[in-house]
Point group: C2
Chain length 411, copies 2
Amino acid sequence: MKKQINIERLKNTINKSAEIGKIPGNGLRRLALTDEDKAMRDLFLSWMQEANLETRIDDLGNMYGRREGKEDLSPIVIGSHLDTQPNGGRFDGILGVLSALEVIQTLNDYNVETLRPIEIINFTNEEGARFEPPMIASGGLSGNFEKEYIYNLTDQEGNRFEDELTRIGYKGKMKNRIQNIHSYLELHIEQGPILENEAMDIGIVEGIQGMEWMEVKVKGESSHAGSTPMHLRKDALTVSAKMINIIEDLAIEHGVVATVGRLSLEPNATNSVPGEVIFSLDVRHFEDNKRKNVINKMKQKIVEIASYYKLEVEIQCLWEVPAVEFNSNIINLIEETAKSNDYSIQRLPSGAGHDAKYMQDIAPSGMIFVPSVDGKSHIESELTLDKDIEQGANVLYQVTEYLARFEYSIQ
Amino acid sequence: MKKQINIERLKNTINKSAEIGKIPGNGLRRLALTDEDKAMRDLFLSWMQEANLETRIDDLGNMYGRREGKEDLSPIVIGSHLDTQPNGGRFDGILGVLSALEVIQTLNDYNVETLRPIEIINFTNEEGARFEPPMIASGGLSGNFEKEYIYNLTDQEGNRFEDELTRIGYKGKMKNRIQNIHSYLELHIEQGPILENEAMDIGIVEGIQGMEWMEVKVKGESSHAGSTPMHLRKDALTVSAKMINIIEDLAIEHGVVATVGRLSLEPNATNSVPGEVIFSLDVRHFEDNKRKNVINKMKQKIVEIASYYKLEVEIQCLWEVPAVEFNSNIINLIEETAKSNDYSIQRLPSGAGHDAKYMQDIAPSGMIFVPSVDGKSHIESELTLDKDIEQGANVLYQVTEYLARFEYSIQ
């Protein structure tokens, strides 16, 4: 029988993580670079040290723990992120980091010596819920974002990324960034309903859909709610509501996913007609051209609606990433490993973005999905069953150990 | 020629007020019981003392300045409020308070002795922009709100009204509340386009439309923006957008004014489908029955939409006030006084609520309107021309002096 991870130990670390930033309904609010994030990082650092890992922090706040191999070769890297959404769950990202730690502990249990080093990683601000865009630190590592750009990002209160990184004590050195990666693996919850609906154990992730984040600013005119007749208003909210409805209609018609997830208005007072609305727009699809075409249709409609009601509108692209395909050798290896445990498998694409998306730019990468109960994620009630956690972590362990055995590189 | 106020002095006090809580675009952000409100109150208190008024503060933070009459009779009360909207202008409320001070200064200039005392007043939290509902302290004075209810109101950060009142040093004694008022007069900007469109100098306000404030809570389910297919979403924002559009349609169809001015969503993150939206709804009309009928239709549609999309909805009434008619003798007196100055006049109703609404419950009351440029209000660019300020303040002065001369009460 193949080596197995220790599910009780892994459940224990997940439960301890679930105490830091806890919110009602079993959820977590652990936004990047907050006091809660710092508390979790401190705990994770102590765990890595207890597992005899050599730890370091890079200039983007990414945390590494290294287990040496017999040879000075490029390492196998495994991990994910410990930050959450404002009303997030206990598994998104966290499972990938704590399973990576569990892989190390299991190697230690069995006194396994590997040829290649293994590094586990916690990426900073994957969620992008506090500092947009998401996956900022893996994107920094892969060269997709400049350090200055990342440092000058601000949250909604105007706090700078660099200042907050320094404040919580996790600004390390640029030379600590990992380089020359043999391969990158990430275990993650599916965050969608497919594996559960098909009653499958393990999802073999083929790639990640492309996405674009936009910000739409609708400028009307604030006026008094009691003394301004309906026909003389320039209400930025009623006009934005029409835009939001059209965006939804176009998404359904063309088979993309589109979300207005963030919205703010000015002056935001009960007896004032809203003068300005700013809302985000997130559009995703597996075919980049199709996504771009639908976004163009949406933009056209948004401009038409604003013009019809004589309001001004600005649409700004905040972030765009093309669709990505993971390394086919890694995909095949994950699939064979899962099958060899008699786990049922399904190949599927990822609807959500992940750090593995940027890691694929600099190293052969792959992802393992485990089922999400009711497909729920980014919500307090997010849940993955113990048996699925165990099976997913076993696949991660076995693939990592296998890759670390050999000298050759993956193409 | 009738006595005239000193427009240069009045412009000067208005300009000094416009420095406290100043925001870009000539606007003011001077929310009730903030540091800015305190700074303005301190300045106004010193002005009242310089004008030889006897000052006092009541338990709701209302500020009074009393000029004695020859007899111990009930006073003529004039005033309004010094707090503003989050993005408010320099005139709303402020004109009424500072013109009241100007009335006193003009009486002092001419050494006028009146039979009745005159009191000027600054009401706390008229706007309701920080502590809902609005007109809270005039409503407290008139017995429409209990002291405990007012004290326990909280702002969006959870700060209590009483605590903030104490913090800024303006919690006075209940025995300082004014009682036995002969009559109440309030000069105010129109906040709408009627006087300007008709090229009229002075608006004679017949009454104030009735209004209801509601809060609508739409509960869907938050989920991941990338991995949740459109048909499996329970998006609280797209459904709220449909409600906002129907509210607007019904308002236009039935001739009421309806405003969704405040809206918040959870988790408010770009890559999360909104799980919950809370929005305000303000509906007003001069006929109470008509208002109630339209609100019922709106509620019915809101519930239908929620039910169709399988979301939950709660609608809560926060505040309701019936329409009010001002005292006809006061209305006639204002009209005759304006005409005697050769000012053109127009009788009109008020679309906005005012402290005079509650004062009419306890004393014969009336309001004088002056034109708003482009009908704008609750916005930084709110403007009333100097000549209109002068004419409005002259009418306020002359009506006040006239009423203070006589012993008989107004019915």
